[in-house]
Subunit: 154 residues, 2 copies
Amino acid sequence: MTDTTNDLVLDRMMEAPRAALWRCWTEPKLLEEWFCPKPWYITDPVLDLRPGGEFSCVMNGPEGEKFPNLGVFLEIVDRRKLVTTDAFAPGWRPQGRPFMASEVTLEDAGEGRTHYVARAMHWSEEARKEHEQMGFHEGWGKAADQLEALAKTL
Amino acid sequence: MTDTTNDLVLDRMMEAPRAALWRCWTEPKLLEEWFCPKPWYITDPVLDLRPGGEFSCVMNGPEGEKFPNLGVFLEIVDRRKLVTTDAFAPGWRPQGRPFMASEVTLEDAGEGRTHYVARAMHWSEEARKEHEQMGFHEGWGKAADQLEALAKTL
């Protein structure tokens, strides 16, 4: 049995087709539109869609806060699955304190809808709790609202 | 500049062709012959050669010691590069305390020889020192001797 104790999961039905959600996740200009709960926003997104390829952006706050995020893609299954982690920088360079791997899966649910699951898998209970206290559920939930709204327009 | 402070590196010229060294790394029956410095040996090798695929074995000591090792492949470039890590179990499950990623590269060096570089990249100075004290240089060196001797017979 897989131990999912240290996972945080967002699981919802999206009123948008799988291909549109995939575009929002993988095209930099679209990612900018939804990836952070507003009024936060990202700049400089880099999406090198291959195992080990860079996945990075800068998270910007309304007061001028700037938080660079650097990680890599671990696995890409076209229009079905994306896995990323902050444990590595490009070149498989171990970096910082490995916090989580993030897996997004998309499944057709009929009538133009998609079953969307975003799973944050942490290395420790401590990291999972920290992420929960940082507002995982609200933050990822709001971002998913923005993602769905954008995907509907495509 | 890439910071390689926490790397440990074995770099040598192998008197064996690249294709033979690759077979020794990727065929379970061959891996068993060289992967541990004798009198230690491995059993139950699993090599699922794809990003995220299982890379595991049990390390066995002469006094009956048994140390299971579980990790995954991060990248496979046929006959050129193999990258693995202990940070994940299959399914990209974060596991334990991430210790290192290991990268092996093979380059033709002419006359049936191969430039072989095995690089252990650690998440911290502490992990790198621990690995050095566990005998990285002697252990990986002896294993490389066994690898070269086996590859020459293929």
